[in-house]
């Protein structure tokens, strides 16, 4: 288990205790992870772990770059914070399985670059963005 390998670690959340992530999306993402031959971490439900302040979240948040297939980046950031396991916004990319297709999630998971997208300050989206 290397801590200094070049690629980001991969973390998948199964959102086991709610039906908010489309079943077909999470099933397809997990299937491609399993078929890929690559190493990854999978958890049953980040919310449940955050509620228990599971020390495992510190293990998952620490030690370098990570890509997380879960839900909204703002929510994922808050969940880790709640467990005293802050994510590093510079080295974390969250892929939202509630809004993205499985193919889009997997393309970003397996890409060698990391597009950090965890919010670092309060921001709002305008209702009608300028064209």
């Amino acid at each position: 288990m290397s801590e200094t390998a070049p690629h980001p670690r991969l973390l998948y959340c199964h959102c086991q205790y709610a039906q908010v992530v489309p079943k077909e999306v999470k099933a397809a993402v997990l299937e491609q992870l399993c078929q890929s031959g690559t190493a990854f971490e999978a958890v049953a439900d980040l919310c449940e772990m955050a509620a228990r302040r599971d020390p495992a979240l510190k293990r998952l948040a620490g030690t370098g770059a990570v890509k997380i297939a879960a839900c909204f980046p703002r929510a994922v950031k808050g969940l880790f914070h709640q467990a005293d396991a802050d994510l590093d916004p510079q080295s974390t990319e969250v892929l939202n399985m509630r809004t993205l297709a499985a193919g889009e999630v997997c393309a970003r998971l397996f890409a060698t670059d990391l597009a950090a997208n965890v919010p670092t300050k309060a921001s709002t989206k305008p209702e009608n963005p300028a064209p």
């Binding site: 205790y17 299937e31 449940e48 293990r59 929510a75 994922v76």
Partner: protein, 277 residues
């Protein structure tokens, strides 16, 4: 359920040197996730999280069981060559119990998550919640302290937050589910608070008043079926106005108890907002 600082069992699906690939990898990992475990699959050129103090079970199709060293945690190694995915899940569950790792699935993880980038520490959520979900830390910063006191599927406290800083990640819609907050969302949140202020600033009093009025009306009804229908209609209206599950409204305590709890929560909020002496 009492939540505690216990770690989930870490299950390592080991397919490195000395272990054959799993024929039922997807089925096995899915079965483990459905039982609430955290799974690490090794292999390839990516890193995984390092070993820590979590209780750990290493599964593999071992020609010769490997030895692991350098950890302080409870480690177990299990050869699963002859087992199918359901049998593997059973083995893991019994190991979880044996190692005293966290149990899962007894509670739907429904609780507020604070977006501290937005939160202004105004304590409205603390004042509002009757169930003691919120508290403050040593520096008087609002925090979620009793997640399991939260009423499942009730996002009411997020509705009183003027900054849209309270998320419920398992909620159906944004921005409560963690989606980006829009300007329109903020305007809506402000309007809600203003409406609450116009009504006397006490949402629970308003709800109780409406409920009492409805009850008084029902008591004059001779037809109990009709009264029940009316009551159900009224509850539906209340539930829709705050997106509060009817079962939460039905389980609200007596008016006296509501008043007591509301005063207790307000006192906590006032104390948190007082200047440090």
């Amino acid at each position: 359920m009492a939540l505690r600082d216990s770690s989930a069992l870490r299950v390592i699906v080991y397919e490195g040197p000395g272990s054959d690939p799993l024929p039922e990898r997807l089925a096995t990992i899915t079965a483990l996730l459905e039982r609430g475990h955290a799974v690490t699959r090794t292999g390839g050129d990516r890193p995984v999280a390092p070993a820590d103090a979590a209780p750990t079970l290493v599964l593999g199709r071992f020609a010769q069981a490997p030895e692991f060293s350098g950890t302080t945690a409870e480690w177990r190694v299990r050869d699963i060559t002859t087992l199918n995915s359901a049998q593997i899940a059973d083995v893991v569950e019994s190991t979880r119990a044996e190692l005293g790792a966290a149990r899962h699935g007894e509670w739907k993880p429904w609780f507020p998550v604070i977006d501290y980038d937005r939160c202004t520490n105004c304590m409205q959520c603390l004042s509002f919640c009757l169930f003691g979900v919120y508290g403050v830390d040593g520096e008087r910063q609002i925090q979620v302290q009793n997640q399991d006191n939260c009423k499942t599927n009730c996002p009411a406290c997020s509705r009183v937050c003027p900054e849209a800083a309270i998320m419920f990640p398992k909620y159906k819609a944004g921005p409560i589910n963690g989606d980006i907050v829009s300007d329109a969302d903020l305007q809506k949140e402000k309007m809600k608070v203003d409406i609450s202020a116009l009504l006397g600033g006490d949402v629970y009093s308003m709800l109780r008043l409406r409920s009492d009025k409805a009850r008084s009306r029902f008591s004059k009804e001779r037809d109990s079926d009709k009264a029940l229908t009316e009551r159900q209609k009224c509850l539906v209206k209340l539930a829709e106005s705050g997106d509060i599950p009817p079962e939460v409204l039905m389980s609200l305590p007596s008016p006296e108890e509501i008043a007591r709890r509301a005063e207790e929560a307000a006192a906590k909020a006032r104390a948190a907002l007082e200047p440090l002496g």
